[in-house]
Subunit: 418 residues, 2 copies
């Protein structure tokens, strides 16, 4: 197939599917999600065979073990993908919700009604599970989805989409609801980013490089799922046992994710009491510490932190540590280095807690809790497509509601404007 | 001043102002709005003198009378701008609203709190009143604003911003809350569109050309206020008197605005009864009619409509008219030509009313009412910055709520993730 025409054709099919999807009942959508989950497991051999070819090709190309692990599927991982789809079935369908409705003095009734976005484009990298996650979230919310995964996973993605698209169509969803762009060239990705005619929104999922490329090049509206350079600030009025638990949790519970702590700030009044012990515990858990001069004097074996350390989202067992003179200095540090993801203060001071929540400009601001809670399931929203660090449309965990828009439905009896 | 540095400097000042504005009380913001309104009238001589120079320069350059009229200020227009600011004072401040708050099983309380967007960039054309409107809406919602108006109005805009920025600062708002980019070159506008470091959102206000330029070139998230190719469909089950009133109102009440009707669709079963009379009335009101062959047979003096007519937002006393075979054909016509602004059906058929509201993909969908109601004041939201025809963040009238974002504020007692 000519590659430009692949995109245009699939874009048009997605648009047509989206038109029909907007009116389809929750029953049919849920039936389709169940059918997709069932088919994934029933046809796992086919998917695993395709995946084995991707993994082999990756190994031959010298792909790192970490990347190969992301790429690799097995029965357990396919089961997990299926479980993710089943979990969506039990969530309420946001489409059709009347967010609010009111009557104007002239009798016109105006309802704000939740409707699908339309066609969602997803540009992502090597993890084939994104294919299923994204398709499930889009369908549950009545959106058609156009998927464009990385070349490393193309065989896996083709096998997965073949299985789930057929199951969805069989269950009654319009053909074209789930499609994969099979050309993984850069040119086609570029073109997809400017396909305003067919795409209503574009969501990049992957590393910072991918996300920046999409933000820079897209004319289709983008939702940016972002980088998390997250801080925990231990105030002079903190409960230090609580602070220790939160710090250990925020750094070590899962260091490779965007809501993990990357820099610890400690008020100078409690640094001497707090840092030696917590530093030792972190080191015992294999966390490398990079500190300011005052930190170095309190934690044996810590390296000196550079300016770059404060800017870095390590996504690893590394932590920058800085002793600050005051609450205000902590706020200033966060303001300078925060990427607006998740920021925490540990304090029992009422005024500082209030000021922290008011002044810190981030998707999630915590008082006396770990940053690790910034997550759709932890917030009680269910599955999410990512954590938005931008301010338009969605901020924080992007669950089902964030995959929708609204329209105003106005009921009249012949009202005209005076 | 070096022009690149003007932008960077003002961007940084706006960012700093936004940080402070986020915590400023409604009282101070409202006091500032009142002071700005008062100052506009008190210092109108200065503004009118600057405006007279703009108008003179425009006339010398051969600017059309319509454009000169948009550019020109007088005492009445300055009073209207001031009234717009006073009207904002009486509206509730959306900032700080807890949209919802809930408690998780682990005791963590999560609140979704309304906060300002940060720094809003406005790129607009020749109307100096946009300067005041936009600044007022941004300040009321705790946003700093960076204004970039057209070169034709630069003296007027400088005079206005000088007056209102001084009044706002005097009333207690941070310096840098309202700023004008004084370099009106294309290069600086270009640069502003990619100033992600300082701008949180960009709103173009003006004609389709300006909006498309911004959408195409901006990397800063854009809210698109759009074109309205709006339809009224008169169904076979319509009350024809009601339909006539709605059609006349939607076309002639104010033909130059985006929610005016541009194409009338009439079901063939009522065309013979409906069109001759309504056509005559429209013609008496100087509306030029461009119709399909069946329309031409029913309305004397109508011209033949071309494909282009159905695509055109006339913004003028011109109307395309088409007789359709069926309800489905009306839906298909609207799906094909609609720009997603405002669409109306006139019918007493329950099922068709339901299907129309469900299937038509537009910011506002009407049953038995004029499209002219798509407007912040008419919807009861108060002042608006435009009508969004995009689906992300804001759709329909963009009032105060749409100039905000949310953040999650999480209150814990030491919760860590298990």
């Amino acid at each position: 197939m000519n590659l430009v025409s692949e995109l245009a054709l699939k874009g048009k099919q997605a648009k047509d599917a989206a038109y029909k999807l907007a009116s389809i009942s929750s029953q049919i959508k849920d039936k389709a999600l169940e059918a997709m989950a069932y088919a994934l497991v029933a046809q796992e051999e086919e998917i695993l065979a395709a995946n084995a070819l991707d993994v082999e090709a990756g190994r031959n190309k010298g792909m790192s073990n970490a990347l190969l692990d992301r790429l690799m599927l097995n029965k357990k991982r396919i089961e997990e993908m299926a479980e993710g789809l089943y979990a969506l079935v039990s969530l309420p369908d946001p489409i059709g919700e009347v967010v609010r409705q009111w009557r104007r003095p002239n009798g016109l009734e105006i309802g704000q009604v939740r409707v699908p976005l339309g066609v969602v484009g997803i540009i992502y990298e090597a993890r084939p599970n994104v294919t299923v996650d994204a398709a499930g979230l889009c369908l549950k919310t009545g959106n058609a989805v156009l998927l464009r995964g990385g070349s490393e996973a193309i065989r896996s993605n083709m096998a997965i989409v073949k299985v789930i698209a057929a199951a969805a169509e069989e269950a009654g969803l319009p053909s074209g609801s789930i499609q994969l762009v099979e050309d993984t060239s850069r040119e086609v990705a570029q073109q997809m980013m400017t396909m305003n005619k067919y795409l209503d929104v574009l969501i990049p999922r992957g590393g910072a490089g991918l996300i920046q490329t999409v933000v820079k090049n897209a004319t289709v509206p983008v939702i940016e799922t972002g980088v998390g350079n997250c801080h925990v600030y231990v105030d002079s009025h903190a409960d230090l046992d609580m602070a220790e638990n939160i710090v250990i949790n925020a750094k070590t519970h899962r260091p490779g994710v965007c809501n993990a702590m990357e820099t610890l700030l400690v008020h100078q009044d409690v640094a001497r009491k707090f840092l030696p012990h917590v530093g030792k515990r972190l080191q015992e858990m294999n966390v490398e510490l990079r500190g300011c001069p005052r930190t170095l004097a309190l934690i044996e074996g810590a390296k000196e932190a550079t300016e770059e350390d404060y800017q870095t989202e390590y996504l690893d067992l590394i932590l920058a540590v800085r002793v600050v003179d005051s609450f205000e200095e902590a706020l200033a540090h966060i303001r300078r280095y925060s990427t607006g993801h998740s920021e925490a203060i540990v304090t029992n001071d009422y005024l500082r807690a209030r000021e922290f929540t008011r002044c810190v400009d981030a998707a999630a601001v915590y008082v006396n809790a770990s940053t690790r809670f910034t997550d759709g399931f932890q917030f009680g929203m269910g599955a999410e497509i990512g954590i938005s660090t931008q301010k338009l449309h969605a901020r924080g965990p992007m669950g089902l509601n964030e995959m929708t828009t609204i329209k105003y439905v106005c009921y009249g009896d012949g009202q005209i404007r005076q």
